[in-house]
C-alpha cells in the first residue's frame, strides 16, 4: 500500500472538495451549478475506479480471459449521470427564470432585492 497506488482516490477527493468549495464560495448561480457538477463527478470516479481490475477486461465470456472488471458500478453510475444531467438541466432552467425575474444571477444582488422589497412593503406578496 502506498499513496501513489491510491492516486484515483486522491483525484476523487480533490474534485470533491473543489466542487464543494465552488458551491459554497461562489455567488454566481451558474458557477454554483458548475461546482455541483464537479462534486457529483467526483463520486462517479469513486464508484468506477474500484471496479477496474488490473488486466481485467469487459465482462464478456470469451476464450483466454479469466479476469473481468466489475460491470455493476458502471451501470449504477450511468443512472447517477442521468440524475446529474437532470439536476443540472433543472438548475439551469431555474437560473433562466431567476434572471427573468431579478435581472441578475448573482446571489447577493438577488437577496438584496428581496430584502429591499420586504423593507419597502413588508406585507405585500
Amino acid at each position: 500500500m502506498n499513496l501513489a497506488s491510491h492516486f484515483s482516490y486522491w483525484i476523487t477527493l480533490f474534485l470533491m472538495v473543489a466542487g464543494l468549495f465552488i458551491v459554497i464560495a461562489r455567488g454566481n448561480l451558474i458557477k454554483k451549478l458548475v461546482g455541483l457538477g464537479i462534486f457529483q463527478t467526483s463520486v462517479y470516479l469513486l464508484y468506477i475506479a474500484p471496479g477496474k481490475l488490473i488486466g481485467g477486461t469487459a465482462p464478456i465470456l470469451a476464450e483466454g480471459f479469466k479476469v473481468y472488471s466489475n460491470p455493476l458500478p458502471h451501470v449504477l453510475i450511468l443512472t447517477a449521470i442521468v440524475v446529474g444531467v437532470a439536476t443540472l438541466a433543472l438548475g439551469l432552467a431555474l437560473v433562466v427564470r431567476i434572471r427573468e425575474a431579478y435581472d441578475t444571477i448573482e446571489e447577493d444582488e438577488i437577496l438584496l432585492q428581496d430584502h429591499a422589497r420586504e423593507t419597502e412593503a413588508p406585507f405585500e406578496r
Partner: protein, 494 residues
C-alpha cells in the same frame, strides 16, 4: 401469480405511469382525474399492504422476478408499511384540494404539468419507503427531489424560484453525500441489498470506510430531513411554494427522509455500531434540542404564517430525531408515531393556510388579522392544529410527547423530560401569536365581512384536522403500528 402478490410493484408503478399520461393528455381536468385516481389507488394498496404485514409479516418482492440479493428487492415491513400509508394517505387527501387551490396560485396552462410533477414526487416518496436496495433509495430520492424542486418553483412569488434553487443545491449535496455513503458500503460489502448488506457488515464494524459511510449517510440524510442546523433550505421552500405543495411536503418529504435514516441506522448498520461505537446519540440529542428550542424561538418572531409553521416544522423534526437518539422502544415509538402525527397536523395547517390565502390573498400575519371573524372555520381549524403542535391532550401531538417524555424518564434523564415540555411552551407562544392576531384584531379594510373558503378546500383540510383529534383519542392504530415498528427495528438490530 395473482394481482394481489404484485401489490408492492403496483404501489410505485401506478403513480409512475400516471405522470407521463398526465403530460400526454395535456388537459387539466383529465390530468387531475388521472393523478387523483392513481393516488387513491396507491392509498388503497398501501392500506392493503399494511394489513398483509399485520397478518403475515414482512413481504419481500423480487422486482422483475430477479431474486435478491442480485435483483432489486421491494421489502415491506412494519415501518415501511406505516410510512407508505402516511405518504399515500396525505396525497389522497391533498389532491382533491389541489384543484381549486392551484387555480388561484398557478397559471392555468401549467396545471397538467403540476399534476405530472405531483405524481412523480409521490412515486419517489413511495419508492424510497418500499425499496430494499440502497442505490434504488438514491434513485427514488432524486425522483422525489427533482419533482419537488419544480413544484416549489411553481409558487407565484418570485422568491419561490430562489427557494427552489437553494433547495436544489442543498438537496443535491445531500443526495451526493448519500451516494458516497452507499458507494463506500458497496465497496466494503459488494452488495446493495440492505438485508444482505447488514449481514455482511456484522464482521466489519471496525473498518474505517464503514464508519466513514455512516458519517456521509448521516450528514446527507440530515440535510434531506432538515435537521438543525442543516435546515436552511426548508423555511423558504415551504413559505413560497404553492399552499398545496407546502402541505404535501411538510407531511411527507422530511418524514420519508427520517425513514431512510431509521432504515440505515437500525436495519443496515445496526444499533450497536451506530449507538455504541460513535458519539452519534449525543450529537443527535444536542442537535435535536437545539432544533426544538432555536427553531421554535425563531418561529415566534416570523411575520408570515407559512414561515412560522415552517420553522415549527424544523422544531418538530427535532422531536422526531430526539426520540431516535434514545435508542429505546419508547423513544423509537415516539419517533415513528410523531412522523405520522406531525405529518397530518402540519398538512392540515398548511391546507388551512391555503384556504385563507384564497380569500385574504396572502399569508402574512397582518393580512390574517381578524381571520376569526372573516373565516371562522379556517381560523378555528388552525387553532386546533396549533393545539396539536403544542401537544394538548386530546390531540395527536400529545401522544407523541407522552412517549418522548416517557423515553427520557426511562433513561433517568429528568432534565431532558423538563426540556421537552419546556420547548412546547415555545409552541404555545407561536400558536398564540396567531390566536391573538386572528381574534383580537380587526380585519384589514377591504375584506368581506364573512367569507369562508369553498367546501372543496375546507373539507380535505378539516378531514385532516379531524384526524389529528381522532388519533389523539384513539391511538390503537398509530401507537400500535409505531410500537410494532420500533420493536422490529430494535429486534432486527440485535
Amino acid at each position: 401469480m395473482s394481482l394481489a402478490s404484485h401489490l408492492p410493484a403496483l404501489q410505485v408503478v401506478l403513480p409512475l405511469v400516471a405522470a407521463p399520461l398526465a403530460v400526454l393528455v395535456r388537459h387539466t381536468g383529465a390530468a387531475f382525474l388521472l393523478v387523483t385516481l392513481a393516488s387513491w389507488a396507491a392509498f388503497a394498496i398501501a392500506v392493503l399492504l399494511w394489513q398483509q404485514i399485520g397478518s403475515h409479516g414482512t413481504i419481500s418482492y423480487a422486482l422483475g422476478s430477479w431474486a435478491p440479493p442480485l435483483g432489486i428487492e421491494y421489502r415491506v415491513d412494519r415501518l415501511s408499511a406505516f410510512v407508505l400509508v402516511l405518504v399515500a394517505g396525505i396525497a389522497a387527501v391533498v389532491l382533491p384540494y389541489s384543484r381549486r387551490s392551484i387555480e388561484a396560485e398557478i397559471p392555468r396552462e401549467q396545471h397538467y404539468l403540476f399534476y405530472a410533477m405531483f405524481a412523480l414526487c409521490l412515486t419517489g416518496l413511495l419508492g424510497i419507503a418500499i425499496t430494499g436496495d440502497a442505490f434504488n433509495i438514491f434513485v427514488f430520492l432524486e425522483i422525489a427531489s427533482l419533482s419537488t424542486y419544480v413544484l416549489i418553483a411553481l409558487g407565484r412569488d418570485r422568491r419561490a424560484l430562489m427557494a427552489s434553487y437553494q433547495y436544489l443545491i442543498m438537496g443535491t449535496i445531500g443526495a451526493t453525500f448519500i451516494v458516497i455513503g452507499v458507494g463506500l458500503l458497496y465497496l466494503k460489502t459488494g452488495t446493495l441489498n440492505l438485508v444482505d448488506m447488514s449481514v455482511r457488515l456484522q464482521e466489519m464494524s471496525n473498518h474505517r470506510p464503514v464508519l466513514a459511510a455512516l458519517g456521509f449517510l448521516t450528514v446527507g440524510i440530515s440535510l434531506k430531513l432538515a435537521l438543525f442546523p442543516l435546515h436552511q433550505w426548508l423555511p423558504n421552500a415551504y413559505a413560497y411554494a404553492p399552499s398545496v405543495v407546502s402541505a404535501f411536503l411538510a407531511a411527507t418529504a422530511t418524514k420519508v427522509s427520517v425513514y431512510v435514516l431509521l432504515r440505515f441506522y437500525f436495519s443496515v448498520f445496526g444499533e450497536s455500531l451506530v449507538f455504541h461505537r460513535l458519539p452519534l446519540p449525543e450529537i443527535m440529542l444536542a442537535l435535536s434540542l437545539a432544533a426544538m428550542f432555536a427553531a421554535s424561538a425563531i418561529a415566534i418572531f416570523q411575520d408570515d404564517l407559512k414561515r412560522l409553521f415552517a420553522y415549527s416544522s424544523v422544531a418538530q423534526i427535532g422531536y422526531i430525531t430526539l426520540g431516535l437518539s434514545f435508542d429505546s422502544v419508547s423513544g423509537l415509538t415516539a419517533t415513528v408515531v410523531h412522523l405520522f402525527n406531525h405529518g397530518i397536523t402540519k398538512a392540515a395547517l398548511f391546507l388551512l393556510i391555503g384556504c385563507a390565502v384564497t380569500v385574504v390573498g396572502g399569508s402574512s400575519l397582518s393580512r390574517l388579522a381578524g381571520l376569526g371573524k372573516v373565516m371562522p372555520l379556517t381560523a378555528f381549524g388552525i387553532v386546533l392544529g396549533g393545539l396539536s403542535l403544542i401537544g394538548v391532550p386530546g390531540t395527536a401531538g400529545f401522544v407523541s410527547k407522552w412517549y418522548l417524555v416517557l423515553a427520557a424518564l426511562e433513561k433517568g434523564h429528568w432534565w431532558l423530560a423538563l426540556a421537552i415540555v419546556a420547548s412546547s411552551l415555545l409552541a404555545v407562544a407561536y400558536v398564540w401569536r396567531f390566536v391573538e392576531i386572528a381574534y383580537f384584531r380587526a380585519p384589514p379594510a377591504g375584506l368581506p365581512v364573512r367569507r369562508e373558503a369553498p367546501l372543496s378546500l375546507l373539507v380535505p383540510a378539516w378531514l385532516l384536522i379531524a384526524a389529528t383529534i381522532y388519533f389523539g383519542l384513539d391511538t390503537s392504530v398509530t401507537v400500535g403500528s409505531a410500537a410494532g415498528a420500533a420493536a422490529e427495528l430494535l429486534g432486527m438490530a440485535k
